[in-house]
Symmetry: D2
Subunit: 357 residues, 4 copies
């Protein structure tokens, strides 16, 4: 009998369940005697032996379901090496649970932070296979993560709705898009929805050029401007600040987020009314789109296949349209950012989208 552990960690996203269903279906189909153990609330379940035996029926009907049937939690990597409040050695506790349960392998679904810990566990000698989940699409080693396209759909929908109502009034609409420190989500949703201006963390904006872009539209007789603004967008000025100074500045700010701050500045300088939309956690929720379900299912099946073949220490990903396995050591600790010189940025500029740079 092979016993496989599985957990989901970090901020949740769409298609986590679809991916776990892919893993489970392929394990049940291809290993004669297999048992799947689900750890609850991410690494916490592994640490504190909080788990449940999963059966085929648990994976039935979850393909289309948002969230994760196992729950998740954020466990900052920095604190993994520190003992918990009861003095427990976290890493040792996780290794102990793994050994106590005589696991053949641990399947871990998560984002950037999750992959650092997964690599750590792999280095500790555990058999680990991971799947790249995040709406941010910032995981190194794979062209695409599941969750991303579903979030693009939701953010695009938001801007679409704004578009139909924008036409009648002279206003600047700001839609704040998630994405943490990277701009993939904002970039794709911005292009998909015909945003006029797109602000990304990777391309700090020059406030004067931004104002100029808005004024240019007004001069051309366009009654409104739509800005897709990444939650991590940053001005050229702020980009030059030290990390510490920037943190201080933000904590002192009266505004709950970049959009309100930027909105106030635009209002002051252009005299136009500002409307702010914050889809927020909507972008992590809802049923996964067909695209995500297909790649999540494929990733899941491929992960099971690695287990069948006994190949461990890998993340399953996609490169150039092909499913690949990437050594965890290559993935951990890196961030995949939008390249300001990439062809998608070039094409966006060709059609007149301003990045405020």
């Amino acid at each position: 009998m092979k016993r496989i552990g599985i957990l989901t960690s970090g901020g949740d996203c769409q298609a986590l369940n679809a991916a776990m269903r892919g893993v489970a279906k392929a394990l049940y189909e291809n290993i004669r005697d297999v048992e799947i153990i689900g750890f609850l609330d991410g690494y916490k379940g592994l640490m504190y032996s909080d788990y449940t035996k999963l059966n085929p029926v648990d994976f039935s009907g979850i393909l289309t379901k948002g969230g994760t049937i196992l729950g998740t939690s954020r466990q900052p990597f920095k604190k993994m090496r520190e003992p918990d409040s009861n003095g427990l050695d976290k890493v040792k506790a996780m290794v102990d649970t793994y050994k106590k349960l005589r696991l053949e392998c641990l399947v871990i679904l998560g984002g950037n932070g999750t992959h650092k810990t997964a690599n750590l566990l792999s280095e500790e000698g555990l058999n680990v296979v991971t799947l790249p989940k995040t709406i941010d699409n910032d995981i190194y080693g794979t062209d695409i993560t599941f969750g991303f396209q579903s979030a693009v759909d939701i953010a695009t929908d938001a801007i679409d709705c704004i578009h139909t109502t924008a036409a009648s009034h002279s206003r600047v609409f700001i839609v704040e898009v998630m994405g943490h420190k990277v701009g993939w989500l904002t970039l794709h949703a911005g292009i998909a929805s015909g945003a006029d201006i797109i602000l990304l963390p990777e391309i700090p904006y020059d406030i004067d050029k931004l104002i100029e872009a808005i004024n240019k539209r007004t001069e051309e007789g366009k009654q409104f401007s739509i800005l897709a603004v990444a939650e991590g967008a940053i001005s050229k000025k702020d980009a030059k600040l030290s990390k510490k100074k920037l943190k201080e500045k933000r904590e002192a700010s009266l505004y709950p987020s970049i959009s309100y701050e930027l909105g106030a500045e635009i209002q002051e300088r252009t005299g136009q009314e500002i409307r702010v939309t914050i889809p927020g956690h909507m972008q992590r929720g809802g049923s996964p789109c067909a695209y995500d379900r297909v790649i999540a299912t494929r990733f899941g099946a491929a992960a099971a296949n690695l287990i069948v073949k006994g190949e461990y220490g890998y993340m399953v990903g996609m490169r150039d349209g092909e499913i690949v396995k990437v050594p965890l050591s290559e993935v951990a600790g890196k961030l995949k950012m939008v390249d300001p010189k990439s062809s998608i940025i070039e094409e966006a500029k060709l059609i007149g989208i301003s990045f405020g740079d």
Copy 2:
């Protein structure tokens, strides 16, 4: 030949185009020689003779289209009796345009403010027929307005998305729903999406009871609470302030809206993390839902039928499932609010929804 004028006024919403298509199709089908004149940007077009002749082709394919093909603008009723910046008498200007064009009738699509002006024009002797549009559903004399159900769908969708992602973390999610001074939209979207707590302008909340409701959920082991909060929601304390004091208090507030202010208070008193979602103008946009398209089309056809029969001075509406005509004088200046003692509130309380009262 009969010449009919048409205009859309106030904040836009879904199904404005569907309603105009209904009017136009029914006019073209049932009056041998008819011409339709569209005034641009609401009453402004009528004031300043800014109009265009519309043809059947202009109404083709607009059934599903958000926004309004005529544009709209907000013209506060209070200022209708004041001259404009060039000293123009606005009401006289509108009457003059009407007469100059020898209009048979003016079809006006709008909300509360719009209806005051429509009634005024009717009193000035113009033939007027109106249609009730607004996502707020606050127009007196009709059970339902078009735009409302589409906005309910969007706000419900937003809370649905939050729901799937909420389950994994211990948090309070606040979704701020539009609706101006009334709570229809929040009430329906809140029930439809399974919100735990619903705050409406019509039922001022007691902050202590609200905190209690959240804490009760936590004690019951529920990991999150979802609050559907009307943009016009108000605390019992604030509800006692004079209008002037309340305005001052709000202008002095550091928070861009009620949600952030309320969120800060909840965070302080419960210690839970807060996440705020502001769908904002999304709620006015997008393609109208099937329900709105049907009632908008029916309202439009019924308005045309009034014109065929030469019956003027009415708003078309729906009461008890039947299309009715309501004298404009009965509609103007009134607001249809949620009755805190109505059966829908009672049913919501029966299933355990808290209104913080």
Copy 3:
């Protein structure tokens, strides 16, 4: 302790789970000591004592879920009085299960057939409360049933999609809409989606007038016609046949449904290409729309309230916008059809929709 039984019967539809959640939440909130028993697969579960104890957690998260957590089955009313294949007296078996479990009341969610049996059980002395579910909206005694609006949304979506692709080719598109023997679904979806021609069981079509309506569009330069055809649509000629003759004719037909038969005739007589779309069971599936969730929740809460008050023998429904209770004896055995002289038909004709009559 009060023990309440619940079951769903007949063809399934959206918002069944939402309604059951409404019942359950309101029972748990308002009766100190209550137990809910769910019978599986409709009346079969009651007949054969196939049931499960339901707990609050079973009703959590089902508001948005299509289908029914209890399963359903079709049990033709005609056969209720006949013994089953093992000689079991079905009605007696149901009464026995009810008594054996010492049920306070049985909550039954179903359509027309279901209500006949519910009335029978009520006449046998059981305490029964029912909820009207069906996409057909054909239940007597209520203006609206849950499931209907969700199905309208799906059928409307189908025709919307056809519309965008129809414009480029000279074709007749037939979309076959469900609805059993009534035309509510086709009528609403047809108006909502701008269908050119709508065929309903209640308004038998004259094939010559139908062809004429299509040819008229072609002559006016319109490149396509979209027909929303109820699965129960019938020609004037066939409407005159005896039930038996009609059945024979249909069984002898080479066509799988009315759409293909009608399509062949239209193709022959107009020379236009025909494209048929059969959304079929799609119309019963998917997440319920916000409208249905609200009324299903309200109906559920109102049903629980009847139980709290000990009022039995009623269906909960909606009339003129108010929740009402309707004696089962008034509901059973009747069909609510579209009135060909109703105002919605009149309005549809006003805007030029042809009913082929």
Copy 4:
């Protein structure tokens, strides 16, 4: 001044307008003095000089719009070399129009047939740039075509709806998916929606194995089976027939499509009830999904960039995630089919999906 012609040809699909908007925006932004001529209804407009001058406003607001603002028509390549009914030499006529208008280049959006003619025009010396549009995703030389993902979304939605209603009854549901002679659409929608059995033209099915797969599900206690069947699916037996024989057999068939024929056979051999859903042309319609809008916009911008640089005779496509230009001669006359040995098929089989082979 540069004058660019543009046309859309073949069956329509989503994102045609998005792609043309991309071309136009990039041309207006990057060529000082440019004029865009739109030919109506595909190659017919080029043949018969039926065109219109397009202005920036014509491309405004069409990003989200299904269909094509230019219209389209099917012009079988085989007949391109034959004169039309008036004896007109079609190819010469197209070349003449091009020359008469002194076009710099012709941008052609189309599928397989369209590309054969585009290559022909290129060989005749015209400057041609093409964009790959089709829901079938069968164009050689590009990994992806726009329209495909939107159609996947719609077909997935259809099967999702079936899923929620399928659970309660013992039935076989057949959903017939478009795709012409290839199975991409069925494969992706089938995986995305959790279909149990997927039938593709590229993997002829063995009817005995198919029946076996259905019976196996029944034996395992599963109450229903969902089949995603490509409109071009074929049995092993039929796949051995000569083209002529196959055509004869199909013309003699009583069934309007493969689904009904297959359904009848399954019903006979398994005794299960069959339900057929034919989304049909729905799959070509509706607003393009975000994914398609992004690639269509990028393809459009890249096509304009080729024009800016004077590089002609290419199709714009995507390979391994990069925008590429592919010589038309490499594209024309080839079909991109699903490889039965590809990794996506392998992964689908890993999770237990049957292809009936």
